[in-house]
Amino acid sequence: MPELTKTPVETEVPETGALAAAEPVREKARSLWQDAWRDLRRNPVFIISGLLITFLVVIAIWPGLIASGDPGDCDLAHSLQGSAAGHPFGFDQQGCDVYTRTVFGARASITVGVLATLGSAVLGGVLGGLAGFFGGWWDTLLSRLADVFFGIPILLGGLVFLSLVGGSLWSVITFIVLLGWPQVARIARGAVVTVKQQDYVQAARALGAGSTRMMLRHVLPNAVAPVIVVSTIALGTYISLEATLSFLGVGLRPPTVSWGIDISSASSSFRNAPHMLLYPAGALSITVLAFILLGDAVRDALDPKLR
């Protein structure tokens, strides 16, 4: 597993040092990040979901590793046939190999999930963090703007927006970022407001630290944990949302291979050939489950109240 996050820990030393001094001396002083990483390494849920996600990411990058065929290589003669030698998942309506398509479908889901999460985390984190840090009219404006985006039913917004700009990988990611950032912004704003009132930030201000230095050295490292937690949990739901939009016919479009599209086209002959739907649906569910489990584990590790 790659390391979760590399964050400078020097900024935390005074605080954790003070905390550790009150406890028995044997316990070595650790920052929140070191503590969280130690917790995670021991958590079986994290190990299982981590392995699964590593596998999925590898498959998304090099699908050829476990599927030698081409997802567009279809033979109508095999239409709707069940599993056969070399084709364990059977064939779909067009006679395409369901196994190959299921493997190749990982790429779209993982790409949308990861990029949309990064986008909404950065956008929401920056906007929400600035609102919490500076307050005032910018804060009010941003909160109302977030309310507006919250008021739009997600699927309806997706239908309207995507039929307007056309469905593609980038438009789906843009849409998810547009509707996803307010959630992150709220969390980031709350975290920054809390951190800003801490004594060590006040002390830094008293020592004459400028806004930039305060933000980057004191507030950011201590307010970023909740943003990471909410983003990790959101990743799974974003993947599910992409599949739902593709299922409704406004998300990704063929020839992009996507589980949502495959499930949608499988739905018409589902009653006679359920295998066509069950395999991509299973892959989709396992992917979403893996990211939700990862989010749970990260939350448990980063929320000191639960320790």
Binding site: L159, S163, L164, T244, P274
Partner: protein
Amino acid sequence: MGRYVIRRLLQMIPVFIGTTLLIFIMVYALGDPVSALFGDRAPDPATAAQIRHDLHLDEPLWKQYLLYMAGIFTGNFGTAFNGQPVTELMRTAFPITVRLTIVAILIEAVFGVLLGVVSGLRRRGWVDTAVLVLTLVVVSVPTFVTGYLLQLLLGVRWGVAPATVSAEAPFNELIVPGLVLAAVSLAYVTRLTRTTVAENARADYVRTAVAKGLPRHRVVGRHLLRNSLIPVVTFLGTDIGALMGGALVTERIFNIHGVGYQLYQGILRQNSPTVVGFVTILVIIFLIANLLVDLLYAVLDPRIRYA
């Protein structure tokens, strides 16, 4: 309390305007509704101009929006392009979706609270573990997959419930669709109830109730449950709006001609008055549900007082 309600109502106005304006702009930017009206035929320019003038489509966008809003407050939601008043479509669609939402909310409330209380009281027991795993699975499987699976198993294979819903959509036909719609929220309600019940079970007042010799059902029913249900009620309230807007997928699978169906059709056929009208109503429902939840909070928890 009165002042709080007034302040909240005033805060709702900019959110309402922002959301409807956003949808209005997106829907009207979808394309030229007049040429969509004529299908593949090129419209006669004079006729098209006449229609545009009658529908105020030749006015600037902000004026169209103001005219539209003025219409709404006099109960006129405009006419769908097939000549049917939008209010007439609403009269048939909304009762169906409201019935579906009622079924879903009831399922969520009854089963969610029941499972949550049982697993919260027996933490780390086998019931608790089973419920936790089950909720994780339910959250991970996207709604459209749950929908097709239940439709195939209950409706087609075993014949326990109707596979599709008739035009009148009576309550008994809506049980399976309601379950599908409720599934994800049901899992959240269960987890929420479980957490709060487990937390409150350690509270002093519960220990007092046990110590003074109250029977178990009274301790759980009157003391523990009442205090644990506050966050659950909040969740259920905010979920009403989300369910009504999110019923789209469920309605499509079970062929229910409710709000989601009309909206989907409206977007596909660029039927702007239908889309904007329905979304406006959904936004109003969402905002009012949120307000009611906040007010209910103060009633349920006497510690919260709004100035």
